[in-house]
């Protein structure tokens, strides 16, 4: 076992353990055991610490900057030199940049679009997984193809389409959040169906058959039997599309014009490009608040996501 694990490491670190370890030449047994520990797992901890610093540093930095009231970019360089929540208060008192409205908009758009895409994706995946019909293969290939062309490639056409819809129906055209959600739903099938389809296929068909024999119709089978069974993949898809919507910039920036209608991604970008380094701590506070929900959801659903990511490839 030990040997086989060693094989996984393509290269040992070049640093000599003796120079790093406790230099006690009079205790050869302790040294030898340290050496063994280091060559087996100790160096892995060194790698781990290095990676943890690399991964966490920008996040620690932005958190520290947010606690530095009235801070600019340069004063943010002293980490945790100042601890105050003033920037978080300032954030909500800027009439030019309605942060609270951005937050609410982002959540509204994100949750609606994500719930909608899960629903549309699940319906389609159920059809592809459980029914055999002409055009099924064609449909699956089309979805696989469409997946290759993200919506943002057609941003110009989406903008022009919404512009002309808005001339007649202002409620769903340019500068409307409902319109934006509709555009996001257009990408739902392409992105989610394949992932869901794979998972639906792992639910035995005999469950459906048993329910049908007991007199359940297709709708009842879908809503009361299949949906609860596939809830892990629903959670994964909901989360992935929520996170994708929360950080979507291109289409949101093109379609939403009024500051009080915009999302966090659009608003915070404009905030930073207008003020650059002047109000860095206020921006940092905004960034921390904006990140809380996706990070919390991600950590809470971590296990599902990892298995979903792997399932997407392995299963």
């Amino acid at each position: 076992m030990a040997l086989s694990q060693r094989t996984l490491t393509p290269r040992q670190p070049t640093s000599d353990p003796v120079t790093r370890g406790t230099p006690t030449p009079r205790a050869p047994t302790r040294l030898r055991s340290f050496r063994r520990w280091f060559s087996q797992t100790g160096w892995r901890h060194l790698v781990g610490v290095a990676v943890v610093i690399f991964a966490a540093f920008p996040l620690v930095y932005v958190f520290s900057a947010s606690l530095n009231p009235g801070g600019t970019l340069i004063t943010a360089n002293t980490l945790f030199g100042n601890l105050s929540l003033q920037s978080y208060v300032d954030l909500f008192n800027r009439p030019q940049q309605p942060f609270a409205a951005w937050y609410v908009n982002t959540l509204f758009i994100g949750f609606s679009a994500s719930a909608g895409s899960v629903m549309l994706g699940a319906l389609a995946a159920y059809a592809f997984s459980r029914m055999r019909f002409t055009g099924r293969r064609f449909g699956l290939i089309t979805i696989l193809l469409v997946q290759m062309f993200p919506q943002l490639l057609a941003m110009v056409a989406i903008f022009l389409l919404m512009l002309s819809i808005g001339e007649i129906f202002p409620a769903i055209g340019l500068n409307s959040q409902i319109g934006l959600i509709m555009v996001y739903l257009g990408g739902a099938l392409g992105v989610n169906t394949y992932l869901m389809y794979g998972f639906f296929n792992t639910i035995p068909v005999s469950i459906d058959e048993a329910a049908r024999i007991d007199g359940a119709g297709h709708a009842r089978i879908f809503f009361t039997i299949i949906l609860p069974l596939v809830s892990p993949i629903l959670a994964v898809v909901a989360l992935l599309s929520l996170v994708a919507t929360l950080s979507e910039f291109v289409i949101a920036s093109v379609l939403l014009r009024d500051p009080e209608k915009q999302t966090l991604a659009v608003g915070l970008y404009q905030f930073i490009s207008q003020e650059t380094s002047q109000n860095w701590s206020v921006f940092a506070a905004g960034a921390v608040l904006a990140a809380i929900i996706p990070v919390a959801l991600f950590l809470a659903l971590q296990r599902y996501i990892v298995s979903g990511l792997v399932a997407g490839s392995v299963k």
Binding site: V51, V52, Q151, V156, L160, L189
Partner: protein, 535 residues
Amino acid sequence: MSTLTTTRTDDRSADGRRARRTAEAAGVGWKLLLLKIIVLGLLNAASVYAAMVLFFNERWLIGTLVVVSGAFLTWIYFQRGALPAKYLAPGVVFLLIFQVFVILYSGYVAFTNYGTGHNSTKDHAIHAIMLQTQDRVPDSPTYQLTVVERSGELGFAVTTEAGEVLLGSAETPLDDVRGAVVEDDRVVQVPDHEVLSFAELVDRQQELTTLAVPLSDDPNAGALRTQDGQRAYVYTSRFVYDEAADTLTNTQSGETYTDGGEGAFVTAAGDQLMPGWRVNVGLDNFVRAITEESIRGPLLYVTAWTFAFAFLSVATTFILGLFLAIVFNDPRMKSRKYYRLIMILPYAFPGFLSALVWAGMMNQEFGFINNVLFGGASIPWLSDPWLAKLSILIVNLWLGFPYMFLVCTGALQSIPEELTEAAQMDGARPFQAFRQIKFPLLLVSIAPLLISSFAFNFNNFNLVYMLTGGGPRDIEAGINVGSTDILISMVYKVAFVGSQSDYGLASAFSILIFFIVGTISVIAFRRTRALEELN
């Protein structure tokens, strides 16, 4: 439940079929049926309303399409059978409009000159040109004016010297109006309109002084304008439009402009009159992209960098991710869980925020990296063409390695350990065993993810736009483009950033991306299928 026995006993008879249908219907339940009726009712109400509005606006084709699709959807849900269609329809409707149609529409726009100065129809352009260059007619009669408003739009209600009462707005020429109340030669009340008070006039002065109400449908007739909101005078354009010859003539300089066929009026010498209008220009945008040196150069450069960026991003994140997966895939190692928790934080943090935070840290004058890590050095991380590229790759490594770590860990754990042991029994050295046994197996499951990661990075707009904005800008280029721009950010900048928008050219670039992405995915998926068949 009673239907159960019937269904089972004689499945093939007509009775049995009817019974099964009943069972099916009973399975749906009356609540669902009610929901279905309500939803479809709302859908039909909405589609009929939309169609009526569309017909009212003379959009006959789209209006018809809305009615037909509404009816078709209703039919799908009210007939028996065609079960798959019932499940696919909602998603497909959105897919067709906002993914398939917009792609085709991009294709259409790429063949037009749509953009700033070419936004509208020819009639609108003629009106706009004539409005821009108006002079007051020297002996114009005075019109007693009342400014009125209807749903936000300003209009003029005037009395002529002959005692007629006329009403018009920017969109509708002056015409007789009935039911208006006139006191002392001045209109004080108009049906369906509100008369603006003096205070309101002052508030909207800017809007008021630019408002021109045409006298008639003929653009040459001139328009009424006002300076004070009390009296209006006739203004005529310096240009005269000759409908038969389709020319505009400047009455002051005497120059004649003709329709040059490229969406604008031009003189014989080639001077253009703006605004123009939208026309089909055929392959013009593509020809421009290929032949004009100031566009071709940046386009080639940006395409090359897009490929390099996507490839290097996948390579660096995969190598680091795989290395970490191997390091942490040792059951003897303690507290792996905590390392892992912190390592995936960059993946959980919203991408656009990460890029903005890194942009602050990499700031040349005040950033953390220069000021603290490099002790006050002034390294142009984001403003030097090559360093900016390196910075983008570093930040993308930070953003992307957790994902690669997660999927590599998953794939490694799904490969049975016996394979390596067997290889070692056969005398393979540890690295050899990894390189020749585990790695190919790993690649089979990871390859599709590497391809989609490549496709994702190929269009990784947020990172590039938020970190460097595509810059530092290339001054010699004829379009707004910089040395870290990738194709998709170039499209965005050409279409939406700055005062000049060129939707036509931007769409032509999008079409180019479509072809590149399509070609790559076809090739890539063939290769992976071949990989899979090998094993």
